[in-house]
């Protein structure tokens, strides 16, 4: 049995999600290879080779993989798929984009967003925004899987010594062109890897009030997140969104400020270790999942929190 993990990386830097996905691969068993695909991605390959548990890193470094367009990525995965019993990628927007495409080309059913490995062919995955867990068994001979990264600890990033081998990129399909990424600028820690997250909802009233949360976040070394309502209202950019349709996170501490706690929001944060809710409505559903609830006006409580820290 051999398992392939497809690495997520940005400009040559390995993204943490890759290490969580390696852990899921190790839970399945067998040799674990990592595929690093991109343009100018040798440094990501070097990093992947250091991860504990990886046997071999295969690098497809080619200009046709710049922007990691789904069509070229899927064709590359298909070209080496027969070497593997399982192919895994993180269930981030990176993996969700090309993995189903590769699955369909291989005529297999993808298993999305697994939260646990039960055995080599049986996996657990959340459905209905995490309101239920399904145990599913796959009859396909190659299993394509995306991994809910918050459910698997990161494999140690250093200490491994995998071999690195080149692999040829598939021919350019020329179906689409990458134009660029408008990244939201922040010097803060990344939302999905932060140990502490402070999130604001519609109760924040305006984007102009978010600096109040940012000051608390600065004191805690935290990332800032948001509910969909806050993003839709234009308070903060889309990549702040936590939830069923945004990011799924599980920090040690999640502080929800002016967020009611809709099912779809809880789907993205209810695995956090400690949840704090600050809301002026004592009936808000967020209090049902909060370890510590404070019924207060956030415009009083947040500045006070900043000075208490």
């Amino acid at each position: 049995m051999s398992v392939l993990v497809i690495a997520e990386h940005e400009n040559g830097t390995l993204v943490g999600s890759t290490l969580n996905t390696i852990s899921a691969a190790l839970a399945i068993g067998g040799d674990v290879d990592v595929l690093v695909a991109g343009n100018d991605c040798q440094s990501a390959a070097q990093a992947a080779a250091q991860a504990v548990g990886v046997s071999r890193v295969r690098v497809a470094d080619d200009s046709t993989l710049a922007g990691q367009l789904a069509e070229n990525m899927a064709d590359l995965v298909v070209s080496i798929a027969s070497d593997y019993s399982h192919i895994l990628a993180p269930a981030t927007t990176f993996g969700k984009n090309f993995m189903p495409r590769a699955s369909a080309l291989l005529d297999v059913s993808q298993i999305s967003d697994i939260s646990a490995v039960i055995s080599a062919d049986t996996f657990e995955r959340p459905i209905y925004a995490g309101n239920a867990l399904a145990k599913v068994q796959s009859a396909d001979n190659i299993k394509l899987i995306t991994v809910r990264i918050t459910k698997f600890d990161a494999a140690p990033a250093a200490g491994g010594s995998a071999t690195i081998e080149p692999v040829t990129a598939a021919a350019d399909t020329d179906k689409s062109r990458y134009l660029g990424l408008a990244a939201s600028e922040s010097e803060r820690v990344e939302l999905t890897s932060a140990a502490v997250v402070v999130s604001g909802g519609r109760g924040m009233q305006s984007g102009d009030n978010f600096p109040m949360l940012e000051r608390v976040a600065d004191k805690l070394g935290a990332a800032v997140g948001a509910s969909r309502a806050a993003v839709d209202a234009g308070f903060v950019p889309n990549d702040y969104q936590v939830g069923q349709t945004g990011k799924v996170i599980a920090p040690d501490l999640y502080i929800a400020v002016g967020i009611s706690g809709a099912i779809q929001h809880l789907a993205g944060m209810k695995d956090s270790k400690v949840i704090v809710a600050i809301n002026k409505d004592s009936e808000a559903p967020i209090f049902q999942v909060a370890d510590y609830g404070l019924v207060a006006d956030l415009f009083d409580a947040v500045p006070e929190l900043e000075s208490e820290l």
């Binding site: 927007t93 189903p100 459905i127």
Partner: protein, 249 residues
């Protein structure tokens, strides 16, 4: 240009899903069902393309139970021209759905396929990508902006790192995110008119496709509940608890 929109009938997002008695799935008896929210955005976008003169016809497709006719009628009331129901009482996996889409595309020859980025019941996030793979078309997933420019389309995609832009050749499959647009409501006269719009029914079995599921659901369970927390009276008490009790700061 003809636009084909995929629509799924799902449990209403406001309703809390509960596991059924024999732990095989979700109890949907008498549950409030609705159009998958992402599909509402897909329908809305198709109608706007028609209103802008970019599209001539909007065809909506649902693969599912007889009751999905209601959901298709709803799309017709919103402004779609024609509906197709591929009837099956079985729940198909996205791979099988993609095979059905491919068969319908062979008849309909659309230049654009719009689907939701994910169905809020299975949370698969696969169907659009699979449809484009089987058709050998380009794909643009998680779209929050779509601009058709003749033979190509420029799509803004909501990704974890921000907003990505790509340009795809047409025909293409686009999977849509919630911020693409604000779906409209159907007016009463349009609901009445929708009753007379064409809705074609096909039996899945008559398409002669291999739509057997590859995954078996062995069990469905409730996730472990969180222990009840406490209410603190002051910010100072909160900070004290986080430092000394939870030890997270």
């Amino acid at each position: 240009m003809k636009v084909l929109v995929g629509i799924k009938r799902v449990l209403d997002p406001q309703v809390k899903a509960r596991v059924n008695g024999d732990r095989t799935g979700i109890d949907l008896t008498n549950a409030k069902m609705t159009m998958n929210p992402f599909c509402e955005n897909a329908v809305e976008e198709a109608i706007r393309l028609k209103e802008a003169g970019t599209a001539e016809e909007v065809v909506v497709l649902s693969i599912g139970p007889a009751k999905a006719e209601e959901t298709l009628r709803n799309a017709l009331a919103l402004g779609a021209d024609r509906a197709i129901l591929v009837h099956t009482e079985d729940t198909l996996e996205p791979l099988a759905l993609a095979k059905v889409f491919k068969a319908i595309v062979a008849d309909e020859q659309p230049q654009l396929i719009l689907v939701g980025k994910q169905a809020i019941d299975d949370d698969c996030n696969q169907t659009g990508q699979m449809v484009s793979a089987l058709l050998d078309w380009p794909q643009a997933t998680f779209a929050s902006k779509l601009e058709i420019n003749g033979d190509t389309a420029k799509v803004t995609r909501e990704v974890d790192g921000g907003l990505e832009s790509i340009d795809v050749n047409m025909p293409a499959v686009v999977t849509v995110d919630l911020r693409l647009n604000e779906p409209r409501y159907a007016s009463l006269p349009n609901v009445m008119k929708a009753k007379r719009k064409p809705l074609e029914k096909k039996e899945l079995a008559d398409l002669g496709l291999d739509t057997a599921n590859r995954l078996t659901t062995l069990e469905v369970s409730e996730p472990p509940a969180r222990d009840a927390g406490i209410v603190v009276e002051t910010v100072a008490e909160l900070v004290g608890k986080l430092k000394n009790e939870a030890k997270v700061i």
